[in-house]
């Protein structure tokens, strides 16, 4: 979901995704950078993102990922269910 969210803002490469997630989460969410890739490939396989070779801002060849229409829909979906989940958890926590 996070990857999709990042890509909904801008198309970028794997390294870019890592950095965005770290930045936006104020360095709270930082995982092994490598484990990003299997996830990316799975998303590719689902057809939620597309890839394309390009040149990064500091002139390195990199693969850029872009959200597809199906991916956008999926993001909305996941967003919704995430909100519901959060709401539900919040309610439970408040009840106690």
């Amino acid at each position: 979901m996070l990857i999709l969210k990042v890509l909904s803002r801008e198309s970028t490469h794997g390294f870019g995704i890592c950095q965005r997630i770290q930045q936006w989460s104020d360095e709270v969410l930082s995982v092994g950078e490598g484990s990003l890739y299997p996830a990316l490939y799975r998303l590719l396989d689902h057809g939620w993102i597309e890839s394309e070779w390009g040149v990064s801002e500091n002139n390195r060849k990199a693969k850029f990922y872009r959200l597809t229409r199906a991916g956008r829909k999926q993001l909305e979906c996941e967003n919704q269910s995430w909100e519901q989940m959060c709401l539900a958890i919040r309610r439970v926590m408040q009840a106690i």
């Binding site: 490469h13 794997g14 390294f15 890592c18 950095q19 092994g32 950078e33 490598g34 484990s35 890739y37 299997p38 996830a39 490939y41 799975r42 590719l44 396989d45 689902h46 057809g47 990064s56 500091n58 390195r60 060849k61 990199a62 693969k63 199906a70």
Partner: protein
């Protein structure tokens, strides 16, 4: 989700793997570079920055593997890898491969062949329009449920029944047909005008018969494709030409397509019924075909028809008393119940053979698995998942299955061809059998199932591999108890199945034997049999003279003992009639009795070696014009003159008021089994001198002193010398004709015996395998025993005893199975009980003998174990 795009990406993943991998490598490299750059920017030195980047990225190779998995096709790649490994293993063990593939191919090929026979002969709908609505209507008499029908009754059925869309009639005939110069006996059928339309068939050249023609009794004929091709060179202007049938011209109005073959595949022409039989009732000459109305059931049609038949019986008691009707689906009339049972039994038999073959393979693979146990244990110890390894072992067997299946289908094709060549025209619809889509899908399914059996069972064994034990130095096969149990269970089931099959074929063999041992009532040795048809230039009255002359000339030949002629030796043509015995009261209405009557020449009884019991044979004085005489058989005498002396008594055909002449019984002969097959009990038989009942269509029987076929050519020349126009059918011997009448039974018995012999062989190999393996495993134990003073014989009995124990359990189980299942065979047995003790005993003995042999070979090896050698080696 776009499925198509997904499939595309999968295919790419499969076939462009190196490219994808390269891209992935590059992407990862660039990621690490970027992180390194970022680190340097943050103030690390380059070396440090690179290590930090790598550390943060994680274990690159395992991540790559995960990435590859994410492409969703890794399972296919693994499958292909395992299958490749399997193929290499097959290649490396050619002997094993050969045995395994042959076993599989035999089982799959045999099953597929039998299935394609069943599919073509029994399952596939008949090649006519709406075949499920086609039926055969029989006249049912107290003597037989399937009699032919009189014309007038057919007309009334047709007019008074509402459940039938249509009824049609046909009668198979074999008249003399002249085309150009050649006159030959040809198979044909006399039919009603609607015969073709009821079957939904039409000529491809010319037209069909019309109802108007039938009414006018015009003589018209339609050719079969084959006759048209062979005798008219396939020219299209054949329409309008004439076919001479028994000397009478018949106009050719059409040619049927090649695919049409009813009533038989060998029917050469169809002639429109031109008889005037509007008053013929009772049992007649016609086979009746019916097409049910849409939505009508056979039961409904039959009950309506029975109602009509009952009315007719009341209305015309003279002819129709006691007669009813029966409706049978055409498909069942084409392939009778005996054939059905036989085919299905063969099918199950060959499936059992396949099963035994699979169990054998499981055994072989298990033995191989033991050899690989250390390898498996090592891999398990290194962290391979047991499920994954079981999967791998299973997949390794798939190439074997595929190979077996391929060879099997090829074999099936050959077997079907062989059966067709062997049994054409003797089993209905055989020409329609081929390996088609249904058959191939059956073979594929069967192969998959077989592969499942022999792939999965051995693979399950990975679960019992005990890593610790297997890796220990010098350890022998572990999990041994369980494996041994499994292997023994396999062999026990093999033996039990083989026993079942052997009992089945044993029972059939015994039945065949007891039929062959039947006394036919005549002596068929050294008798030449020839069908002759007199030309139209010899009329009925002259025929007697011709037969006399022919007999005299042939009897003068060296090597000929006696010569006789009869209308029909084994036919079943005229089987039903009424007999009125002189002195019976007017009120006693005789029912229709199945009965046979034949015209013969005086010396016929000598020619076939049938003894006269009482009275005299026919003589010169039994001519036309003098009071009729008859010779009857014992059954006839018992049936009509029970407790009296039949000699000198008089009887006549028909009811008491019939105008048929009285016949005096002058002789009584022994019963002869002449009802198509030896199996049937003799009917009452009446023989008349051909001088009084002339016939132009006879069978000539020549008893010789040596080989009957040796005089065949001379006989043909003599007939020709007497009259060139006589049509002589191919020469045969009485022995061969009896053999031919047993064809179907011989076919079943032969096939089932072949299958059960294969089963026996496989079970023998299975037993050998298990015992051999146990000897291999116990070499050290045997060495110890011998070192402790066991004699060779002790070792021998240890091994053989162990093997026999398994076999005995198998035989016991087999007896249980057989007791339950041989009853299904009952229909095919003749004078043999399904639990025939001789068969059961013989089969047990046979199986035990084979098993002793199978145990003896490994046991000999065990006896020759050198204790020193054995102990030192392990």
């Amino acid at each position: 989700m776009n499925v198509w795009r997904r499939i595309q990406s999968r295919i790419r993943a499969l076939f462009q793997k190196p490219q994808l991998d390269a891209e992935m490598d590059e992407e990862i490299r660039s990621h690490i570079q970027m992180r390194t750059d970022a680190n340097i920017e943050a103030g690390m030195n380059p070396e440090e920055a690179r290590f930090a980047a790598l550390r943060l990225f994680g274990w690159a190779e395992s991540i790559k593997e995960d990435c590859r998995d994410a492409r969703g096709v890794s399972w296919i790649e693994h499958l292909v890898r395992d299958a490749r490994f399997g193929i290499r293993m097959l290649w490396k063990n050619p002997a094993f491969t050969l045995v395994a593939v042959l076993t599989l191919a035999l089982g799959i090929g045999g099953s597929t062949a039998v299935f394609s026979l069943i599919n073509g002969v029994l399952l596939r709908p008949l090649p006519y329009r709406n075949p499920e609505r086609l039926v055969v209507v029989w006249t049912e008499s107290p003597a037989s449920p399937t009699e032919a029908t009189g014309y007038a009754n057919y007309v009334d059925w047709k007019n008074q029944c509402s459940t039938f869309e249509e009824l049609a009639i046909y009668d198979p005939i074999r008249p003399l047909v002249t085309v150009g110069e050649r006159t030959e006996g040809r198979r044909g059928a006399m039919v009603s005008a609607n015969f073709f339309s009821i079957l939904g068939a039409a000529p491809f050249l010319g037209r069909s018969f019309t109802a108007e023609e039938e009414k006018q009794r015009v003589r018209v004929a339609i050719l079969s494709y084959r006759l048209w091709l062979n005798r008219f060179a396939g020219v299209s202007n054949v329409i309008g030409r004439t076919l001479e049938i028994e000397g009478q011209p018949s106009e050719i109005v059409g040619v049927m397509p090649e695919s049409f073959g009813f009533p038989g595949g060998d029917t050469e022409f169809w002639e429109l019924n031109y008889y005037d039989q509007t008053n013929r009732r009772g049992i007649g000459m016609w086979m009746v075909l019916g097409r049910l109305m849409e939505g009508q059931s056979i039961a409904r049609a039959e009950s309506e028809l029975r109602g009509v038949a009952a009315r007719l019986a009341n209305e015309y008691p003279n002819d129709n008393r006691g007669l009813s009707a029966r409706v049978v689906p055409l498909s069942q009339a084409v392939a009778g119940p005996n054939l059905r049972v036989a085919f299905w039994i063969l099918f199950w038999a060959v499936l059992f053979v396949l099963l035994i073959g699979c169990l054998n393979l499981v055994n072989l693979l298990l033995a191989r698995g033991v050899a690989r146990q250390r390898e498996l244990a090592t891999r398990l110890a290194l962290g391979a998942s047991p499920m994954g390894m079981a999967g791998q072992l299973a997949v390794e067997c798939v190439p074997l299955g595929v190979l077996g299946g391929l060879v099997g289908v090829a074999l099936a094709h050959l077997i079907v061809r062989g059966v067709q060549a062997f049994a054409m025209n003797r089993i209905p619809r055989l020409a329609e059998v081929h390996v088609d889509v249904v058959v191939v899908s059956f073979a594929v399914g069967l192969t998959a199932l077989a592969t499942l059996i022999f792939a999965v069972i051995p693979a399950m064994q990975t679960r019992v591999v005990d890593i610790n034990e297997s890796l220990k130095e010098g350890a022998r096969g572990t999990g041994a108890a369980r494996q041994t149990f499994l292997r023994h269970t396999l062999v026990i089931s093999e033996v039990a199945l083989a026993f079942l099959l052997l009992v089945g074929s044993g029972l059939l063999l015994r039945s065949f034997q007891s039929i062959r041992a039947l006394d036919p009532g005549f002596n068929a040795d050294r008798v030449l049999s020839v069908g002759i048809k007199l030309p139209l230039t010899i009329n009925r009255t002259n025929s007697t003279l011709f037969y006399q002359e022919l007999s005299a000339r042939l009897e003068a030949l060296p090597g000929v003992e006696s010569v006789g002629l009869i209308e029909d030796v084994f036919g079943g043509g005229n089987s039903g009639g009424r007999i009125t015995v002189e002195g019976a009261s007017l009120e006693s209405v005789e029912e229709v009795t199945p009965i046979r009557f034949d015209s013969i020449t005086p010396s016929w009884f000598q020619a076939v070696g049938a003894p006269l019991l009482r009275g005299r044979l026919f003589e010169e004085r039994d001519r036309a014009g003098v009071p009729g005489v008859a010779i009857i058989n014992e059954t006839m005498a018992r049936r009509f003159w029970a407790g009296q002396d039949a000699l000198g008594k008089r009887f006549k055909f028909g009811r008491i008021d019939s105008t048929a002449p009285w016949l005096t019984v002058v002789g009584i002969v022994r019963d002869m089994r002449r009802e198509r097959s030896l199996e049937r009990t003799p009917l009452p038989q009446v023989f008349r001198p051909v001088a009084q009942i002339p016939s132009t269509n006879m069978e000539l029987l020549v008893r010789t002193s040596s080989n009957p076929m040796a005089v065949a050519e001379t006989v043909r020349r003599e007939i020709e010398a007497l009259d060139k126009g006589v049509v002589v059918s191919p020469m045969s011997t009485l022995e061969k004709r009896i053999g031919a009448s047993l064809f179907e039974r011989r076919f079943q018995t032969l096939l089932l015996s072949a299958f059960s012999l294969v089963a026996l062989l496989l079970a023998g190999i299975g037993t050998y395998g298990v015992v051999h393996f146990s000897v291999q495993q116990r070499v050290r134990e045997i060495g110890v025993r011998m070192a402790m003073g066991a004699r060779k014989f002790d070792v021998f009995s240890l091994i053989v005893g162990g093997g026999l124990k398994i076999v005995l359990i198998g035989v016991g189980l087999g007896i249980g199975l057989a007791v339950g299942m041989t009853r299904l065979l009952e229909r095919l047995l003749f004078e043999i009980k399904p639990m025939d003790p001789l068969t059961f005993g013989g089969v047990s003995l046979l199986l035990l003998t084979i098993s002793v042999l199978a145990c003896w070979l490994p046991a000999r090896r065990a006896m020759n174990v050198d204790p020193m050698h054995a102990l030192r080696e392990q």
